[in-house]
Amino acid sequence: MKIVKLSKTNVFQFVDHLKSFGEVHAPQRKGKKSSAFQPVKDNSKLLLSDENYTRTILPIKKYFHKPIDTLLKFSPGKGFEDAYEEEEAKVLFGVHSCDISAILTLDRVFAGKYVDTYYFRRRKQIAIIGMSCIPDEYCYCHSMGTDFVEDGFDLFLSDIGESYLVKVGTSLGDDMVSTASDLFIDYDEKDTDEYKRRINEFPTLFVTKVDETNLPAILDMEYKSEIWEEMGDRCFNCGICSMVCPTCFCFDVNDELCIDGESGERKRCWDSCLFKSHAMVAGGHNFREKRSDRFKHRFLHKHQEFMGEFGRTSCVGCGRCTQDCPADIHFVGMVKRIKGDIACVYEGNNKK
């Protein structure tokens, strides 16, 4: 893999250069502590690796699988038509490896026998520039094997102190670098040593660790466990954990009529398997009637069923669900409890 070095003093210049490849979006402060991917207007507002920001409120799935997406237009005269409108190219700058891993997972979900054209047309339009990060108390990507990505980015910037090592992942990434060659220099032995020191140290920075080995087999045995009832009582079924999760992708589809009462649009929007209507069929029969049924369904889908379908759990350990759950459910605690490691489920009272 081609690797070059970018001095931190050149970063803003490089971001300006990237604007010729598309609208640059990067993490910027939203609330006091929260951050979000937003269009970059003022480079000084960017959150870079040493800004100590960990996760954005929403993951970058919002760019590919939009919260609300118009699929089709329809009218009696023209029938149904594809409503996709080609958007201008974008460059997502500063994506962490867990979120890149999540996109690689969504790629598999939206491919398969029926290719989701909306998702992949956007995938072609949007470049991804990754950036290394420092874990906080919610992160456990190292446990999930997503703290390091070899694929899924056009460029990846690893912080080595005064500068970044820039891995070039695609030919587009190569274009980005070679058209600004005066911003980059070759790295030397000292840089290699610093890079090695940092990646070796990285696993020791995690407070939250979990071992999911054998979890699918254990979940089979614990299918009727009282844990699910207990969690069902605690969970509000608000669906926040699904909305913020970089690998949750359920959606609902609805038609919206125009004022003429005939033509309109078919839209999809993010849904959650925690919502009561999710498995309800005509006539009102609900295959997951109880809150505990639905809580269990999400958990099993992520940690067991994905294993069967794709050979890995869909959780990338970004920590969003635990950080944002208003019922203070600690999902790592859940895993540990089911595995029989510890007795407590919620240890999140010290949140925010």
């Binding site: 699929l71 089709l72 329809f74 009218s75 009696p76 029938g79 149904f80 038509e81 594809d82 996709y84 790629d107 939206f110 398969g112 026998k113 029926y114 290719v115 989701d116 054209t117 992949f120 047309r121 995938r123 072609k124 339009q125 949007i126 470049a127 991804i128 056009d154 695609t170 587009l172 299918y223 992708f249 359920c250 959606f251 609902d252 589809v253 609805n254 038609d255 009529l257 009462g261 005939e262 033509s263 309109g264 078919r266 999809r268 849904d271 398997c273 999710h278 498995a279 069929v281 005509a282 006539g283 029969h285 295959f287 997951r288 049924d293 369904h297 889908h301 069923e305 069967g308 379908e309």
Partner: protein
């Protein structure tokens, strides 16, 4: 940015094709049988389905819903859909009227494994609206009669007003290459000439060779329980019992996750599952 074949992106799997209602006949108070056809002859040509598959039906402004194909692939050209008014889309479809245009995409789902079933006896057990997907299998088997050994049809409904495809099924009684057993649970006006009882009572009138028979069943959830009990009692292996499942579906193509049961998506891995698959899946009935 992803390297993805441009070709795959030309084919939008969510885009319904234009269809027209050719004819419709009232079946019960809330159920009608529609004969439909794609507007474009090339779409008619290209459409090929297996018994047990379904389509996603679109009525502009109300949305989409899954409906089983009630006609056999051996009768090419038009497609039969037997639709009960259950909510927004199905109700709107009932109100469309002759020649109305609507959207349809598919076929979806696995369908019955007919290649495996051929060469065996076929037992079809239906209850109520469950006859709709099984009608496709029934006519597939009758149109390829030599590919199957004995064929037995058992169909039961609440009463004679709920009986679907009445004329067609009653006329099968006179055919000697199929044993047709029909029942109503309640004969409300004394006009019923056949069996009065539950569909499970019909088992008393049939000789079954469990080892060489595939049983295809479809009906309301309560029916499955009792029919499966009967079949197991008769010595059927769980892998020879084929059931058709109903789930909420939004996309039909394995993306929206509404129809997931355990490891499986009803829309892609089903809707036809063997009883063995079913007992190994969670939340099944």
């Amino acid at each position: 940015m992803i390297k993805y074949e441009q070709k795959a992106l030309l084919n939008n799997p969510y885009l319904p094709l234009s269809c027209r209602i050719v004819a419709s006949t009232v079946q019960t108070d809330d159920t009608m049988l529609f004969k439909v056809r794609f507007e474009d002859d090339r779409d008619v040509e290209a459409f090929d389905h297996k018994p047990g598959q379904f389509v996603q039906l679109s009525v502009m402004g109300t949305g989409e819903c899954p409906i089983s194909i009630a006609s056999s692939p051996t009768r090419h050209g038009t497609i039969d859909l037997c639709i009960r008014k259950a909510g927004r889309v199905t109700e709107a479809f009932h109100n469309l009227g002759q020649n109305a245009v609507f959207g349809m995409r598919g076929p979806y789902g696995n369908g019955y494994p007919v290649e495996v079933m051929e060469g065996n006896n076929l037992l079809i057990v239906a209850g109520g609206l469950g006859m709709a997907p099984l009608r496709s299998l029934l006519w597939y088997a009758l149109d390829h009669r030599h590919r199957f050994k004995d064929i037995i049809l058992m169909y039961g409904t609440k009463n004679q007003h709920d009986f679907l495809f009445k004329g067609e099924l009653l006329s099968l009684i006179n055919r000697n290459d199929i044993k047709t057993l029909l029942a109503v649970a309640e004969d409300i006006d004394g006009s019923w000439t056949g069996e009065v009882g539950l569909v499970t009572d019909l088992f008393d009138h049939a000789e079954l060779d469990a080892g060489n028979t595939f049983a295809a069943i479809c009906g309301p959830p309560v029916m499955y329980k009792y029919v499966i009990e009967k079949l197991l009692e008769k010595g059927f292996s769980k892998g020879r019992i084929l059931m058709s499942l109903e789930r909420k579906m939004k996309c039909g193509i394995g993306k929206c996750v509404h129809c997931s049961v355990g490891f499986k998506y009803t829309c892609i891995d089903g809707p036809i599952f063997t009883y063995w698959d079913a007992i190994n899946m969670r939340e099944i009935i």
